[in-house]
């Protein structure tokens, strides 16, 4: 059956060569991809999603958070890696005409509550203290795993916060606030404890840009829904439910994220373009100066999804054991050269040799003089001047 093939005789050879090349190229591609895995500093994803407002009329903040939660779960981050903090229960709120649902589109098109929501911090547990403890990891030993942020230095963390805020602060539960300074210090603590590789901070509140102004730790990228002095507006009220369902910025972010799938190559620059002023009324802002990579090269799925691409290959991949990570950490250890020691909590030496308290205030001389002059004058007026000679 050696039928003579029509065409040039070199075709099979060429095809074989091409295929070999392709094969080797493919192998190289796989090797490259496998090496890529070791070059990036990021191996797991976490998300901390916080809604800080309570009461029925703040439905939209819960809907915001839940829609981000939904996207993040859809893109692959499991519940065990999401810390969801909701300050109030909208789905089972007595004022909810559609119980067990939280909608994000009017006409109730999209129920972001679903039947697979795991809220970790609920209602009054959403406090500034708990939030900071989650971030910094300083949690009492009795806290269950679901309430902990067990990130390490290879975790990319997405932190999303929404609620009512102002210039430099975010209001929690209508009773306390977290300031931008506190937040920046918390992130610095996270950095020093090697609790993140890269951090994406998104905030949807009024004057949200003020919250990322004070960050000073490396590898943080921040997005906010409005600049200082601007209010973030809500999107659409639903006349059936009676409240505004979503905030504009998160609404358009959600629309954007609906297009993303786990293998998307969309990068951060596209996220920065989400919700321009014409749609959002406020001007969204972002901050990338602390971030080491170019936002062009940062995939959305680096933060919103969990890297879980599986490719089966029959190739053998030879990995170089001396692979060095492409991104090196910013060496900030030069600061920690001086030995640390505890400050004296109880200055025993001082207490033992305690001197009597120094009175720092003394009445002015004029006052004392005036007062005693008056008293002496009255005395002599009353008892007669003749007593003078007994005194002087």
């Amino acid at each position: 059956m050696a039928a003579a093939l029509p065409g040039p005789r070199w075709l099979p050879a060429a095809a074989a060569l091409l295929w070999a090349c392709c094969g080797s190229a493919a192998t190289d591609g796989i090797q490259d991809q496998a090496e890529q895995f070791f070059r990036s500093g990021h191996t797991n994803n976490w998300a901390v999603l916080v809604c800080t407002s309570r009461f029925w009329f703040n439905y939209r903040h819960v809907a915001n958070t839940l829609s981000v939660y939904r996207s993040v779960k859809r893109l692959g981050i499991p519940d065990s890696h999401i810390v969801l903090m909701l300050a109030d229960d909208m789905a089972c709120n007595p004022r909810n005409p559609k119980p067990a649902t939280v909608f994000s589109h009017k006409n109730m098109e999209l129920n972001v509550y679903g039947d697979d929501v795991e809220v970790d911090y609920r209602s009054y547990e959403v406090t500034v203290e708990n939030f900071l403890r989650v971030l910094t990891g300083r949690i009492p030993p009795s806290t269950p795993r679901s309430k902990r942020l067990l990130s390490d230095d290879r975790s990319n963390i997405l932190i999303y916060m929404t609620g009512h805020g102002g210039n430099g602060f975010l209001k929690f539960q209508d009773s306390e606030e977290i300031t931008n300074v506190e937040l920046a210090d918390a992130f610095e603590q996270m950095w020093q404890k090697r609790r993140y590789n890269e951090l994406l901070f998104i905030i949807d509140t009024c004057q949200g840009a003020s919250m990322y102004e004070r960050f000073y730790s490396p590898n943080i990228m921040a997005l906010a829904s409005s600049q200082v002095g601007e209010d973030s507006l809500s999107h659409q009220p639903d006349l059936g439910i009676g409240v505004h369902l979503m905030d504009r910025y998160t609404f358009y972010v959600l629309e954007f994220l609906e297009e993303i799938h786990p293998a998307s190559q969309t990068n951060m620059n596209d996220l920065f373009q989400v919700c321009p002023r014409s749609l959002c009324v406020s001007t969204p802002g972002h901050r990338t100066d602390l971030f080491q990579r170019d936002p062009q090269n940062v995939l959305i799925t680096d933060f919103f999804g969990s890297v879980r691409k599986v490719e089966i290959t029959t190739e053998t991949v030879a990995l170089d054991p001396n692979l060095v990570g492409l991104e090196t950490r910013v060496p900030n250890d030069e600061m920690a050269t001086e030995p640390l020691k505890y400050a004296e909590q109880l200055p025993v030496a001082q207490i033992i040799h305690q001197k009597p308290k120094q009175k720092d205030w003394h009445p002015p001389g004029g006052f004392i003089l005036g007062l005693w002059a008056l008293i002496i004058m009255v005395f002599f007026k009353t008892y007669g001047i003749k007593h003078m000679k007994y005194i002087f």
Binding site: D360, L371, V378
Partner: protein
Amino acid sequence: MAAPLVLGILVAVTVRAVLYRSSLAGFISERVEVASPLNAWKRVVEGLALLDLGVSPYSGDVFHETPLIIYLFHFLIEYSELVFMITDVLTAVALYLAVQDFNKVVFKKQKLLIELDRYASDVAELIRTPMEMHYIPLKVALFYLLNPYTVMSCVAKSTCAINNTVIAFFILATIKGSTLLSAIFLSIATYQSLYPLTLFAPALLYLLQRQFIPVKLKSKDFWLYTTQYAALYLCSLVVIVCLSFFLLNSWDFIPSVYGFILSVPDLTPNIGLFWYFFAEMFEHFSLFFVCVFQINVFFYTIPLAVKLKEHPIFFLFIQLAIISIFKSYPTVGDVALYMAFLPLWSHLYRCKFFVFDSSHPHPHSPWGTLNSNTTDVYCVTYTLYISLLQILLISDYFYAFLRREYYLTHGLYLTRKDGTEAMLVLK
């Protein structure tokens, strides 16, 4: 008379010293009946501490004492217990001397009226004798020293004791007849807490009586003396206020002290009448009612002056009582001061409506836990009850006094025109 007084003083000082060392001291200083925002000791300490830190003690709503108290306690704060014991002793001694003098005056006046035949014929049992009047000064001094209210006030180190001392010295100066000293002490008393301003009228009346100047509106002497006294009083008040300015180089103390007394911003419960009313009032009306309540304190002066112009010391007593009941932040220290005068009028017992002993024990528990509405109501009723008792006491004494005067001039056994026995009715 000196020996029993000294003995009484020693006993009183011992009682106070013992209580200072016991655990009751802390408990008593926390009680709202004893320590009001105006005179609590811990506020004095707080104010002086703020001053040491370089902050004006009048910033914030902590310290409401006058600068003279700052000056006094700046040097004496370590000896505070001694200071308060000494002030109590001084008050008692001043009251003793004052009442001694006053009794002499009363007796002289009575003798004069008997000789002038102004009394009715059958009032022998109402005439006061030196025998009964002999122990009154001692009783007054002991009433003040050993009164549980005074002891509690002293143990709590409430500066009400200092206010009482100044008022006692004022009374002493008035009874001795010294215009200058009386004006000066009255101005210090007014400077400390605003209300002794109303004591100007009885003091003036007494001094006029002493100078034998009749109170006639046309009389030139009367106006001359009144203006003299008023001028002395106002000048010394101005001098003291200006001097206080120089202590801290600021006028902060005026809104802190007098603004506080007059506008009553602090509504923690006390034995006064202001707090419950204002705690429940809408902001809109509070200014009006503050004015009404404050006028209430000053209002009784003129009618009483008209009625009691012959008896200025009784007028003084009633006025002191009215101040203690109706002032914005009364404490038991104020009550103790006017209660000290009760022995002075124990001769009125015959004419009293009911024998009334107001130093009865009363429960303190409701104010321990002020966290429920029922306790609130209990507090209110209790406060009102105490005020009511005091008012009844005062009106009782007043009525008895007037009745006695009436009996003295018209005879004890009143008969109507047709000869049947008549009843005296207060209209």
